[in-house]
Symmetry: C2
Subunit: 211 residues, 2 copies
């Protein structure tokens, strides 16, 4: 349960408008995102983030009690962008290409944000106490990935994919696309050959295997 934010501060000043608070929050998240991407999650202090975001450490700690909460803020922002991108692809692709196009969009999203990917995924997501939960909170993330399941169901209805639970098929595809991103971004020294070819071949093999 979230405590509702007080409308006035202890000193009786009126609370800043929601819009101002949101702008300040965005600036902090954006500053942290750039710093984590450039210098790595572990190497960046809360003090440095506050300095770049031009807010006091106290104000930063009020919004984000620790670095991990900031990482969660960045993750949520990126995840929202990813969903918007996949929605756009769904709308613009021909019906029979949608499942493949969404998988490609997922991989491309992270290939275009490799620094963010490393900052977000290549750290240990350890729980910080009992109140904490993983970034990828099951219900929310999976609910919002509905565009995957919708494309799969529609392809099944057209006879392009075999019958089966769309959630299970989505999860199979998510293993594929996550693995492509992990290998290409997390292990850049491996000779993967042409990244574009690997990406397309893997997604194509998976979808063909689900027919």
């Amino acid at each position: 349960m979230k405590t509702p934010s007080p409308k006035t501060t202890r000193r009786g000043r009126p609370a800043r408008s929601d819009q101002q608070a949101e702008a300040s929050r965005s600036l902090i998240v954006e500053s942290a995102r750039k710093l984590f991407a450039a210098e790595g999650y572990e190497g960046v202090s809360m003090r440095k983030i506050a300095a770049i975001a031009q807010c006091s450490p106290a104000a930063l700690y009020t919004l984000f009690p620790n670095k991990r909460q900031l990482l969660r803020g960045i993750w949520e922002e990126l995840f929202f962008e990813l969903l918007v991108q996949m929605d756009g692809v769904y709308a613009s692709a021909a019906a029979q290409d949608r499942v493949e196009a969404i998988c490609l969009a997922f991989v491309d999203f992270w290939l275009q944000r490799q620094d963010d990917y490393r900052a977000i995924f290549m750290i240990e997501d350890r729980l910080q106490g009992e109140q904490d939960s993983y970034f990828v909170d099951s219900a929310q993330v999976m609910q919002r990935m509905a565009i995957f399941r919708r494309s799969i169901s529609e392809a099944q209805a057209r006879g392009e994919l075999r019958a089966g639970d769309p959630v299970e098929m989505q999860n199979v595809l998510l293993c594929g696309v996550q693995g492509i991103a992990l290998n290409l971004i997390g292990m850049p020294e491996v000779s993967w050959g042409d990244p574009d070819k690997l990406k397309r071949a893997t997604i194509h093999a998976l979808i063909t295997g689900l027919r």
Copy 2:
């Protein structure tokens, strides 16, 4: 280029035998592995590793100049175990099941070593200076994954997989198996359903797609 280790110390004592040095190295790597798995890579100091391995910090730093070198030692040890396991699977599986069996063995290896997986893969593998290289050094790792390519080539020769570059097919399969491990171990809060079913369905879809 590695500097050859001196045969005598500065004080003129005879060097310990290679066997002793190897035993000491193994004990340090094993201690670090347990500590990283239990407490996370970032939370463990070189001093603590030395204490658990019952060696002096100076001796530890001589063998491993920094924590990252230790992580590399652990990674190499695990990778060797993985190769041994895959070789065993190749030897025991029926010919037509080998590609699938090796993929399953790869995933199962990490599912049985989830703490190690998190310690090794879920940190930022940042290069520490120009002399440094990524753990996954292209030539070595990929050369030693020969069992993958051999199984693929043999399946092609029997007509069970379509013609094509075995290296490219290996890389496609590696994306799949890495993604399964990443999702199941790195995002345990996502409702993936039965892990065994997801693992088998993903590998099966990939191999079917390569037929």
